[in-house]
Symmetry: C2
Subunit: 427 residues, 2 copies
Amino acid sequence: MGATEFKVQLLLTGNEIMSGDTVDSNSALIARRLAELDIGVYRKVTVGDDRDLLARELSSMAEQADLLIVNGGLGPTIDDLTAEVLAQVTGVGVAEHPEAVAHLQQWCAGRRLALNAANMKQALLPVGADIIANTIGSAVGFELQVGKCRVICTPGVPGELAAMLDLIVADLARRLQRPAQRSILRLQTFGLGESSAQQMISDAIPDWPPEVELGFRAGAPQLEIKLSVSNSAALAARQHCRERLEQLFGDHIIGEGDCLLAERVLQLLRERGATLTTAESCTGGLIASMLTRIPGSSEAFHAGFVTYANAVKHSVLGVDEAVLASDGAVSEPVVRQMALGALQRAGADYAIAVSGIAGPDGGTPDKPVGTVWLAWGSRDDLRSLCLRWPVERTLFQTMVAAAGLDMIRRLLLGLDSEPRYFSQRRV
Amino acid sequence: MGATEFKVQLLLTGNEIMSGDTVDSNSALIARRLAELDIGVYRKVTVGDDRDLLARELSSMAEQADLLIVNGGLGPTIDDLTAEVLAQVTGVGVAEHPEAVAHLQQWCAGRRLALNAANMKQALLPVGADIIANTIGSAVGFELQVGKCRVICTPGVPGELAAMLDLIVADLARRLQRPAQRSILRLQTFGLGESSAQQMISDAIPDWPPEVELGFRAGAPQLEIKLSVSNSAALAARQHCRERLEQLFGDHIIGEGDCLLAERVLQLLRERGATLTTAESCTGGLIASMLTRIPGSSEAFHAGFVTYANAVKHSVLGVDEAVLASDGAVSEPVVRQMALGALQRAGADYAIAVSGIAGPDGGTPDKPVGTVWLAWGSRDDLRSLCLRWPVERTLFQTMVAAAGLDMIRRLLLGLDSEPRYFSQRRV
């Protein structure tokens, strides 16, 4: 709704973006901040530091859009053309903006730097522009009305842009009288593919209400399901959709917002006053790392073991050498002994153990690359299964680590089900 | 040069990019691959999954460009519009492409999936299009001549795009008779900041030859330094630059191309027939995970220990309980005992041990968040130092893990120096 009423375009400039030396995360940041006001970005154009091309895009975009946000090209070097080209396109010329000069003087003084000519260039703004404070860097932002389009020029340095967006979004909300209307509910899931989730929803909920926008964001290992509504009247419908989704595949829902699988597992452990340990072969410390990335993980995770070689599976975790010899490292008895050894040595309540063949080498006809045994649970309730997940090494490690965490999550929740992912991957 | 002769534009499509849910790294990848052929990207437009807008951009970009690369919109869902809109714009209509059908059949068979209607949509291509194999996913790429412009449509899934770009770049090199003219030498470094590296080079090599283009790509933890030349006559000048850089900060250079710190460490260990173990507290398995992400790591890395809690530092690694009580977990004697315990239990030649405060909690006036003790080396030559790196938790973990790997790299190479990074971070 917002997007059709109020057209926003983005113009990004910078040779480093065009060359691929820098991945542009600024436009995603701008889009997410505007979404808070239910404003969608309609079209985005990216060009290098090329005067003619920049002038052409500025003119044509300002004609089409209600709001044009320009990002980049505000720096002190000769490559930074935004102010100059905008002044040229609009025919207003540039002049030293007193507030920008004051900002530069203050910024340099704070750093005991001399205010040089290169920096002073950053105060040369199109005549009539209003400045937007830069609370971090030297380059002020500015805005200028061009016909019916408001042009807002912002710095390319991500941290400076982020700080400036607070001011820009607040100002837009005021001017458009558009206090954050759009409400986005994000559900994190593991074990569903995007297309199968979509298919299941279409099949099971043919009467999906049109006022609840459904979106997906596929990451490895999680799939995010987004339910967004553009006004509070639709919140009841969304709640209904959420309940239907929970009936459909509620055991796949890890949590809301940014919730990570490891975070949810740690939370469940804390609620139970329990601890978890890991015994990792093919994931090589990734499960431990996913857990310890979360602040406060030390409460429920005290120790983990990476036992890559057979000898250390025996010496560190006490896996029986005869079983290693007879069954091989990638086998049910070995992965179960790894879990039991880790439980004992860490003095933990729960364990995840994995042993598999991440590849590209090490596969056999019997146990091809992608084969993995997982064991999880407690001393009294230790479970295990074998999967075959023949994908590239690091993706394999990521998915297997997540699978281990998800099985512990399910066990802690008393769920007996498996992620749908497994149906095609069980061996 | 390439850019003015041969105009390349990119058209990206996807609601998830416009909304900011996904950061677009695909266009950077495309730009970097085209740069190998000395082809620059002139202009990039990004739009959502909007039929009219997509049609308008496709028409106008195909008129302006010699080559138009379209990325995204090849998937099985109704949002995926690229083939359909391209067929509509060019007036050729769509038809089931037999090679695409065969690919889909094979792809589904390999995954024991039924070929459903949603998938079959991916075989409906503009009449006259040539397909480009997708070696990873279900969506084939395709190309179509539109007037004087070659339009190449590629999948939005990054891994699938990356694989397909090998084919596209090879084909372009052949058709344009442009065997990689631009030669890019990429040096991976650790321990240098982008601006300080640039300043050091400007100061030390004022006569830098203009035919050798210098570029940087800052990542965490590595900084890539790029030396590119557009013809073979400049190779000698580049070699000279490389030698000057090696004099300037050669000990910071990890390797060429995509070389990762962990990869280099594993290579040095293999050359020496030696093994490494890890004893991690605040990095929580990240060092082990960085090592085991590398194929073949099992040769030199057999075991790692994550000892987060004091009790397991004692029970698993044999750290003295009295020392833990008197000096605290983040201390020189503890980190050294962690290293020695890991060396003994893993039977390894070298160890990295880290103990620090990743935050956000756990800091004290004496040992604030960001404080970390590292120990590295062998039983006979074990070294240690303390750093203070007060950054966000996961960045702290990344930089500390890399610092540990870099100190082992330096030790294995017989270098006594430290990364420049440390100068402001030593405690």
